[in-house]
């Protein structure tokens, strides 16, 4: 496995002067590779390390040129491949031929910045609404979104017979079985799915653009609103990136309190999806039990942060609220209650015959496909790919806390749900450890309102998988560019892959195993 130094020296020996390597910028190093070289650099990295995957892609507006950043994950170090294209002729070679997982990332950059990826074109809008005019790219600096004139909405796509026996069924954007607006055009041959095409962006709120006109402090609360369920993760993603530029001395106690907030969040999110999966397969009892036991965890979140859902606990320089010594026994007793119930739930998800009938051998994603599509979180770990940001790039106090990384090799819905089931138990262990070893001291330090020029990435293990933030600052109190890549965005390709060749009746249980959150994906 290629280590940090290997990868840089490998690329240097291979490409020499043609690329520039900036160590320490946006990950372990940034690699400036213009003139189509980004494709070859990525190909080289994939050949050197099988775990290489595209975590996210950021588009940037430099005035005369447009920047395209490929944020690349390898087994351990984290790289950013930077390319620039002139605004007048924004054409760049696509990397989907060597890494299919890049497809939706590139489409998003096309939609928002107008960069044309040769080899990855898409008809119509991917994240923008249907009535958004062509040729207006909202995230470019010279576009004022309030002054854009919308065009009439095109007619709705109808359920059309495709070729021969194949029928195209449109699921969404408004569909009683979907909890959030998204559209899947499913082509079926009888009962068998042959093709799935997604369309997202129905609740695109332009949060990335909005962050550019707000201060860093305001942005923390704004990015928390990306997702209701995993809001502490979003707060930390933004704060983590900003702190990498600001470099404040975050107190030890705050680093543990952040871990507690993030793990409580994971706990309630996992319990939510484990119950919701039960509802999707008509197992109401499981749904009721999990959601009943999720309630005390919500109470703990209220106890520690002051609010059931939006705690707004994490801030630049530390946390905003402390856990007192009297609260710890209360928290531990609630956690112990839940721990006592785990063996029973584990038994249900491992052995219950009807659950096995509905989840075993459904939606199988092989390890190779998981790597190729760069899926993240429980989906990847359910396919035998051992990526967990908490282990790979330990952040906050995770490096000091012992815990197991859960990996199931099966790759089916059952494996994904059991990864979550086991992670609930690991979360309890982490919380216990963190509460026992809580250091004393202050919980935050004061930081400057303005952030010096710089750029940083922060990725963390949110409940649904790796959450990625990129922040570029320009010396003022407002960021120049904030890029958010939510876990569901990275996991959609896996659903498109696994649904094919299976019965249309398997779609609900396969879909829910992603723990999808489309409102976050749309941002």
């Amino acid at each position: 496995m290629a280590s940090n130094i290997d990868m840089i020296s490998l690329l240097q020996s291979k490409f020499g002067e043609k690329i520039q390597i900036q160590p320490g910028v946006s990950g372990t190093a940034s690699i400036v590779a213009n003139n189509g070289l980004h494709h070859d650099v990525l190909a080289e990295m994939i050949a050197a390390d099988e775990k290489t995957g595209i975590v996210a892609m950021t588009g940037l507006d430099f005035g005369q040129t447009l920047g395209v950043y490929y944020h690349v994950r390898t087994a351990k170090p984290f790289f950013t491949i930077k390319a620039e294209v002139p605004k007048a002729d924004p054409k760049i070679r696509s990397v989907v031929d060597i890494h299919p997982g890049a497809r939706f990332h590139e489409l998003e950059v096309t939609d928002l910045f107008g960069v044309v990826f040769v080899g990855n074109e898409y008809d119509g809008h991917f994240v923008l609404s249907e009535n958004w005019p062509d040729g207006v790219y909202p995230l470019r600096k010279d576009v004022d979104p309030t002054k854009v004139k919308l065009v009439p909405t095109p007619e709705r796509e109808a359920n059309l017979p495709a070729e021969g026996r194949q029928v195209k069924i449109i699921i969404g954007p408004q569909h009683p079985a979907l909890l959030e607006p998204e559209k899947f055009s499913v082509t079926v041959d009888g009962e068998t799915v042959t093709k799935v095409e997604p369309r997202i962006g129905y609740v695109h709120r332009g949060i990335e653009k909005s962050t550019e006109s707000r201060t860093y402090l305001q942005d923390i609360y704004l990015v928390e609103r990306v997702c209701g369920i995993c809001n502490p993760a979003h707060a930390y993603g933004f704060v983590g990136a900003v702190e990498k530029i600001l470099k404040p001395d975050v107190p030890e106690r705050a680093r543990y309190l952040r871990v507690i907030a993030l793990e409580l969040n994971r706990l309630h999110s996992h319990l939510l999806v484990l119950g919701h999966a039960g509802l999707e397969i008509g197992y109401e009892t499981v749904f009721q039990y999990f959601w009943r036991d999720r309630e005390p965890i919500m109470d703990l979140i209220e106890l520690t942060s002051g609010n059931r859902v939006y705690g707004s606990l994490i801030t630049v320089g530390g946390v905003r609220r402390d856990i007192t010594a009297e609260q710890i026994p209360k928290i531990k007793s609630v956690l112990n209650d839940l721990r006592g119930k785990i063996p029973f739930y584990r038994k249900i998800y491992l052995d219950e015959p009807t659950i096995r009938l509905r989840m075993k051998e459904v939606g199988i994603l092989s390890r190779e496909d998981a790597l190729k599509l760069s899926v993240v979180g429980p989906i990847a770990r359910g396919s035998g790919v051992d990526i967990d940001v908490r282990k790979d790039i330990p952040y906050e106090a995770y490096g000091e806390i012992p815990f197991k990384e859960i990996v199931y090799p099966d790759g089916d819905v059952w494996a994904r749900m059991n990864v979550r089931m086991d992670e609930v138990e690991e979360s309890l262990n982490i919380l216990d450890y963190a509460l026992d070893h809580l250091p004393s001291g202050p919980i935050r330090v004061d930081v400057a309102r303005s952030v010096p020029v710089g750029e940083a990435v922060c990725s963390l293990e949110a409940p649904r998988g790796e959450l990625f933030y990129f922040v570029k600052s320009n010396g003022t109190d407002m960021p120049e560019r904030v890029k958010i890549r939510t876990p569901t965005f990275a996991n959609i390709p896996s659903f498109l892959k696994t649904a094919i060749g299976e019965s249309i009746a398997d779609i609900p249980s396969n879909f829910v195993s992603l723990d999808p959150c489309f409102s976050c994906t749309d941002r």
Binding site: A177, G278, I281, L357, R358, S503, A505
Partner: protein, 331 residues
């Protein structure tokens, strides 16, 4: 004079009114059980323990606006729910709730076939109700109902014949009055019958016609107001009918230890207690399993339940011929 008694029997006890309230009561029992198992809370306002809640729900639905979407087949859409309900209640009248059937004390020979046919017709009417509602979810939901009951009716009929063979009669009255209830003589058939009944009543793990994540409301999607109330009531009567059928065929109907002079009181009580036991078993199964996929439901029928029912029938016939009859057990 004799006519007045007959009218009382049809309209009040053990006929229409009694069946209606028994249905609502069973609905309440089901809700209570489900709430206890699943740790849920429910409304406790209407009557002690919320016992009147099903009635309140029914009355509430009757008062709601009745919407008929454009494009529905009006006649079928309007009458199918009510006719289905009436047929189910009519079929119930043949079961000896107080030791005798409602219409004539002894029924007639072969009425077992008639009431099973009624149940099938009622199911078919429900299918038509969904089919007429001009809604894709209604259509798919009712197509699922049709596929399911066409498949599961066959093992149900075969298994219903088990007690008939044991007694040597197709009369419900004679089967219920057998000295040895079928559950003792053929317990395997009882287990199979309960499983088949779960599928017939579209309860978990066989409730694919009601899978919200796939077909939304199923055949009920377009129904509102009084028609929806009758659809719900039909389903509830079906549950009671199915359970009453089990009681009649396998559990000895209204039989039990009698006190001379109190038969008129004890017989319905025994019947209802046995019925509640079946309702509880059925509801328990519903809560502890997940829903199967539609293809698994159908494979389960044709590959497992149907062969099992045939084997069960063969075993029964063999036992009756070579074991029970020589020992004079059963008849």
């Amino acid at each position: 004079m004799i006519d007045l008694i007959l009218i009382f029997r049809i309209l009040v006890f053990p006929g229409f009114t009694f069946i209606l309230f028994l249905t609502l009561f069973c609905d309440w029992v089901e809700r209570k059980l489900e709430a206890r198992i699943q740790n849920r809370v429910g409304p406790m306002v209407a009557g002690p323990g919320g016992i009147l809640q099903p009635l309140a729900d029914f009355i509430k639905l009757l008062t709601k606006e009745d919407i008929e979407p454009r494009g529905v087949k009006k006649a079928v859409f309007r009458f199918a729910p009510m006719v289905a309900f009436s047929i189910m209640v009519f079929a119930m009248c043949f079961l000896p709730i107080d030791g005798a059937s409602v219409l004539s004390s002894g029924g007639f020979s072969g009425d077992l076939i008639v009431i099973l046919a009624f149940a099938t017709i009622a199911n078919f009417l429900l299918f038509m109700a969904g089919w007429a509602s001009a809604n894709p979810y209604g259509t798919i939901g009712s197509a699922r109902v049709l596929t399911q009951f066409l498949g599961y009716d066959i093992p149900l009929y075969l298994l219903a014949l088990t007690p008939a063979f044991l007694v040597g009669s197709l009369s419900v009255f004679e089967i219920a009055g057998a000295a040895w209830p079928a559950i003792i003589l053929a317990p395997w058939a009882f287990v199979l019958f309960i499983i088949t009944l779960q599928a017939e009543l579209e309860k978990d793990p066989f409730d694919v016609p009601h899978s919200e994540s796939e077909v939304v409301g199923g055949l009920e999607t377009e129904y509102t107001g009084a028609k929806l109330a009758f659809l719900h009531l039909t389903r509830d009567v079906q549950v009671v009918f199915g359970s009453a059928l089990v009681v009649t065929l396998f559990l000895g109907g209204a039989n039990g230890p009698m006190i001379a002079g109190l038969e008129w009181l004890l017989q319905p009580i025994y019947f209802v207690i046995k019925l509640l036991i079946v309702v509880v078993i059925s509801e328990y199964i519903t809560t502890v399993v997940a829903r199967l996929r539609i293809d698994q439901v159908l494979t389960g029928n044709w590959k497992i339940l149907l062969p099992a029912a045939i084997i069960s029938l063969m075993i029964t016939v063999a036992l009756v011929t070579w074991v029970y009859n020589p020992l004079s057990i059963g008849v």
